[in-house]
Symmetry: D3
């Protein structure tokens, strides 16, 4: 299996509901350094997994909906805890939609799996990995 990884980041505010979160129940924030890994079994005719320039642009667009925002005020997240795990899934879902729209170009047709990792500090991160073509 081949893979390509690109890195970007996003800076957000939010609060988390539930005693398990302790002081993180207060409004605070985070920098998430975001790694996205695209996986496929074979390379395309150019010898790549995906156009890495396009992949970086698509990731940037997906993150723009979150960047410099208070996630508590985004209607799509109402009633949900925007944990690092959950946000990894949100980024994954955004990439899948973009892939379905052809934003990654024709080279991306054969991508099989995507893994999204959000590093929230030097000692903690969360990730979501799934297949491109639907539930597994």
């Amino acid at each position: 299996m081949y893979s390509v990884m690109v890195r970007d980041h996003v800076m957000i505010a939010h609060s988390l509901k539930g005693e398990v979160f302790g002081p993180a129940q207060r409004l605070h924030g985070a920098t998430y350094v975001v790694d996205v890994e695209f996986k496929r079994s074979d390379l395309n005719a150019d010898g790549i997994v995906v156009d890495i320039g396009r992949a970086a642009e698509v990731l940037r667009r997906v993150l723009t909906g979150l960047n410099y925002r208070n996630l508590d005020e985004i209607p799509a997240f109402a009633g949900r805890n925007t944990t690092t795990e959950y946000l990894a899934r949100i980024v994954f879902d955004g990439l899948i939609v973009a892939m379905g729209r052809g934003d990654f170009g024709s080279e991306a047709d054969a991508v099989e799996r995507i893994r999204v990792t959000l590093h929230e500090s030097h000692i903690a991160s969360a990730s979501f990995e799934g297949g491109v073509s639907g539930p597994e």
Copy 2:
């Protein structure tokens, strides 16, 4: 698959038996930067894989049995080489025992797999990954 990773470290002395280890047959030591990744298919009602605060505390407790010690003097390791690979397994086993005791809280019920990685320097590491519910 979702995952959450926490990082800690431990500083130990030990020696390794066998020609393959060269100068590492002498009593020396290591800092292991320890990454533990917890994996499960779905998030719990709070939107998390595991209570990350509790996970960090449990990891700390598991590492306390090794920290600032000469592993050559620990009876449980008698007759064994405490290689980085083997210590990754020891930490894994300690986490499984803690999970069976409920130390991670009820949120941890659905954790399926754990991966433990010990970084021994900027150029070498070892890991063990296994299922929570037994041999695979």
Copy 3:
């Protein structure tokens, strides 16, 4: 010159006032990975710059006043932009006060300079360095 460095982190929400900040004028947040370096010309009788365990505890206490908070609501920051540069100074000032109170123990008497660096992402950081005994 000898130095010792300890690392910790803090997660905050805030907004910045001024066109220069673009989208960072909105309420957002950051993880700051905080490095503090203590410098002195000679080691003490124990062979150290400062008790690193105490230094880590003092840093933790200084950061607690910021951690998991919306800095826009902290009276001490009213009318100020809590930029990364400015927060590096705030942490520095907190450490100087703690040092004056003797929180670092007697070993810390000879510390001459402190440098505080806040990493806000994998591509940006800010720092403040100053003398312990006053303006230079």
Copy 4:
């Protein structure tokens, strides 16, 4: 599953053919920081996955064929784009050949999978992972 990882690096020049590569169609170069992970189900009698000293030497030898070279002038790469993905595979293939020759020693008999990752910058990397005993 156990694994051991070793890191090295290589510095090369090359150009890439195809509009998708934009300015990278010009002759340029890269430092690849190379991570190789060896995986097996059980440890050998010494308690290791593979002799890490030998593994580092073998990796060094495999990289020597690429190091400080213009890949455009290497006959084996004629008509191929030496993308990061492709080079990850080339390093993998070189390790498999070395393993078949017994270069890793008898301890390496049970290695099941190898993963090779090439980091081309602080924001991009590519990898290839495959089984040791042939196509999967």
Copy 5:
């Protein structure tokens, strides 16, 4: 002293003349991860050292003259070894010119020193630091 750091990277081909360079006398290449640190004694009215967005743009422009190029073919480098040390100075000089032109905006008036570091691998880097207002 306050400072702000921004990071970017550049990928180049080149060769080095002189026996001291061994195999690096051949045409090869490098990724340089570039850190630029701006230093000044006091913050401006916005509470910053320099507009970090502008600083990143200026750095990007300075690096564009080098990126994806064979430095052996750039007339300005004729008869010079484009070592990591020398390139750190080239980037520094480019930033000084841009600062003289006002590219950093009025906020940058008080920057006193700039440090440029080029990381060429995980085990080697070089830097140049100098005053903004001329030879020291």
Copy 6:
């Protein structure tokens, strides 16, 4: 000021005397990732601060005296605490002796200062920096 940095590492066992060290009074160990930075005002005729290959070899030789050893048994350290700070100084002194012997080659004549940093974990390090030509 120009500088060049090289990285290596060493793995040792030791114990520390004094209540301030808590559990580190027991025999334990550490991996020190060692960064050495050489500084000078101007580049030599080859365009370098120091022959980086030679510098890496000299550093390796200096570290060999410590590597895979129990520092408590080295006569030169009798009655001294081999703290990270102190070991940074020991490595510095070893480099100065090697420089006086000409081990760095003629290119090294103009090196003015050396900084040695030992990273003992992902959250702590210590360093010593001094002039090459004697006390400052």
